[in-house]
């Protein structure tokens, strides 16, 4: 565990002390090295928890997310090179340091076995993200975006803190393996109902659930590319992962809690997919598609069967990669036209044919084309939900149909059609952008061959 956390923390002095000529190279290479070493977490094991230290332990639902977060640091650094080109060296250093500060907290959040440490790292990821959005966003709306992000998450996580402390006072421990063995809080009273509600709400806001999702389009749209990648690929998964961990603590609660969350998640998947069809802003479209996919993850997390947890895990990983890839592609458009309006950046296939290959692959995986892992995840979740209650297939089926339609709409608007007449020059796609897309696609394609790695089942 320490062999990843210590180098990751030491990346901060690397950034702050590197000479200007080598800063990008040093940080990218060292974070890639850490990412490749982190792959050892995925080795199979029969133990319930591996890599045990007093406060951390990894198992099959935390290791894929941790590997994903290690993998994303070099990608985020590479993606930011474009828009930071003309900034003075000090500011570039500060930007990369902000990115690096988040990483140890995310790793801690996914690997910890203590609830309080999870809460602390969950909250600690908020401030650097806020800095990324409000300091380095591009439009004046970034201020309201930062406020929405901060206050939505904080208001919902305060009940979480109180409930965690209450749980500690009642059971005397917050160590997750021990909590699995304690006797569950028996009678269903208002206290247990409210405490399960409070435990879940913070993750529902983070995931996000449909009624509480307002912060997400704002934050994703106003963030710089590294912020969007971070949010889409990692921070949303904190919500999904939290739901999967916390539901073992809310076990014997009245089953009635399932219904509002499940209905909101599934209906929300449908609604946000239809909103995507009416978006004029490309990044907003991708943000709403994130809400749609995470709605499926929440629905799967709530029914708590083996298949649904497996589907939720695969969907979180595949959606992280796909969504981040789409945001990187949208950013390449934005860097060329400084506008996110969909009809302004249309017809790019004749202009940038190589980039259109990546657009095609990204959209194909987004609409859950077989044999990608996105399809495996959606099918698993749909089947698990059908087993829970057959009418859910209506909602999930329509959501899948709408996903395919808005993804097709996004592909056709950006790639096909007449070229806009008002763009006089377009810089060609450079190697850095192609490398970025390649590094997104390669894990997705490789995971098609061995999805057991991310499926959250004992290998």
């Amino acid at each position: 565990m320490l062999k990843i956390i210590l180098p990751m923390t030491m990346l901060l002095p690397v950034t702050l002390l590197s000479p200007a000529k080598f800063m990008w190279t040093n940080t990218t290479m060292h974070s890639l090295l850490i990412a490749s070493v982190s792959l050892h977490w995925l080795t199979p094991s029969y133990y319930p928890l591996k890599n045990l230290t007093p406060w951390t332990g990894t198992d099959q639902i935390s290791t894929p997310l941790m590997v994903l977060s290690c993998w994303f640091l070099p990608l985020m650094i590479m993606a930011s090179q474009g828009h930071l080109q003309h900034e003075p060296h000090e500011r570039k250093r500060m930007f990369i340091s902000t990115l690096i500060i988040i990483q140890p907290f995310i790793i801690l959040a996914f690997s910890t076995t203590e609830l309080i440490l999870f809460y602390i790292s969950f909250e600690a990821t908020l401030i650097p993200t806020l800095i990324l959005i409000t300091r380095w966003g591009n439009q004046p709306e970034r201020l309201s975006a930062g406020i929405y992000l901060l206050f939505y998450t904080l208001i919902s996580s305060l009940p979480l803190l109180i409930t965690i402390l209450y749980l500690h006072s009642k059971t005397g421990t917050l160590h997750l393996p021990i909590l699995k063995l304690t006797h569950p809080n028996s009678p269903t009273s208002w206290t247990t109902l409210l405490s399960s509600f409070a435990l879940l709400m913070a993750f529902m806001v983070k995931a996000p659930l449909y009624g509480l999702h307002l912060w997400l389009p704002k934050a994703h749209v106003e963030a710089p590319i590294a912020g969007s990648m971070l949010l889409a690929a990692l921070l949303l998964k904190l919500g999904g992962y939290g739901i999967m961990r916390i539901t073992l603590l809310t076990e014997p609660v009245s089953n009635f809690l399932y219904y509002p969350f499940l209905t909101l998640a599934l209906w929300g998947a449908l609604m946000t997919s239809s909103i995507c069809l009416r978006q004029t802003d490309l990044k907003s479209l991708i943000a709403y598609s994130s809400v749609s996919h995470m709605g499926l993850v929440i629905a799967a997390g709530m029914i708590q069967t083996q298949w649904s947890f497996s589907g939720a895990m695969i969907l979180m990983i595949s959606h992280g990669l796909t969504s981040s890839l789409l945001f990187c592609l949208a950013n390449t458009n934005y860097e060329r036209t400084h506008s996110r309006i969909l009809i302004l950046t249309r017809g790019l296939q004749p202009l940038l044919p190589l980039m259109s290959v990546w657009w095609l692959l990204a959209n194909l995986t987004n609409m859950a084309l077989p044999p990608t892992t996105n399809l495996m995840a959606e099918l698993t979740i749909m089947i698990a939900l059908f087993n829970w209650s057959p009418p859910t297939i209506i909602l999930t089926g329509i959501a899948t149909l709408l996903t395919a339609s808005y993804t097709l709409y996004m592909l056709l608007s950006t790639q096909r059609g007449t070229l806009p007449t008002h763009i006089t020059t377009t810089p060609n796609s450079n190697t850095r952008e192609h490398l970025l897309m390649t590094l997104h696609i390669i894990p997705m394609l490789a995971l098609i061959l061995k999805p057991e790695l991310i499926s959250g089942t004992p290998l």
């Binding site: 509002p260 209906w267 087993n387 009418p391």
Partner: protein, 166 residues
Amino acid sequence: MASKPTRTAAEEYRPNRYVSLPAELDPATYDTSPEKRRAEAERLAIRARLKRQYLLQLNNPKPPAVIEDPALLRWDYARTHNVYPTFRPTPKTSFLGAVFGIGPILFWMAVFKTERDYREKLTQEDKWRLGFSAPLHSNKTHKDQTYCGSKAAGRCCWQPPIVGGI
């Protein structure tokens, strides 16, 4: 022969619910009054001014990489950022919000709850087995009993062993 005076085409073909009046039958098309011509000249002047601004930028020896269209930016702003400031809760909007926003949630909650309660009831009465997606039925519904392999076991058709849910 014709008992009533014939009507002109313009009077025969009036617009109705399915089709609007074509331009050829609209008397305003053939109106060449000075007011109309002045209005058309003004619109032409505006279009020509906009086109001149666009072409000046396009044919500039050092053109900007992207020529901005302020009308498009205003339209996009109105669609994305100006929605909530121009919203006011009225009886109509509150009704629409309740019916289309909260209504479907309550509807689907009711659907799931009744379906699951029905299955729970069937399970209590032992008419349902986990892992099998149809309720148990009697063998009176089978006309041809040759493929009911488990007749010896007293059942009317093959059923899978009881397994946990997926």
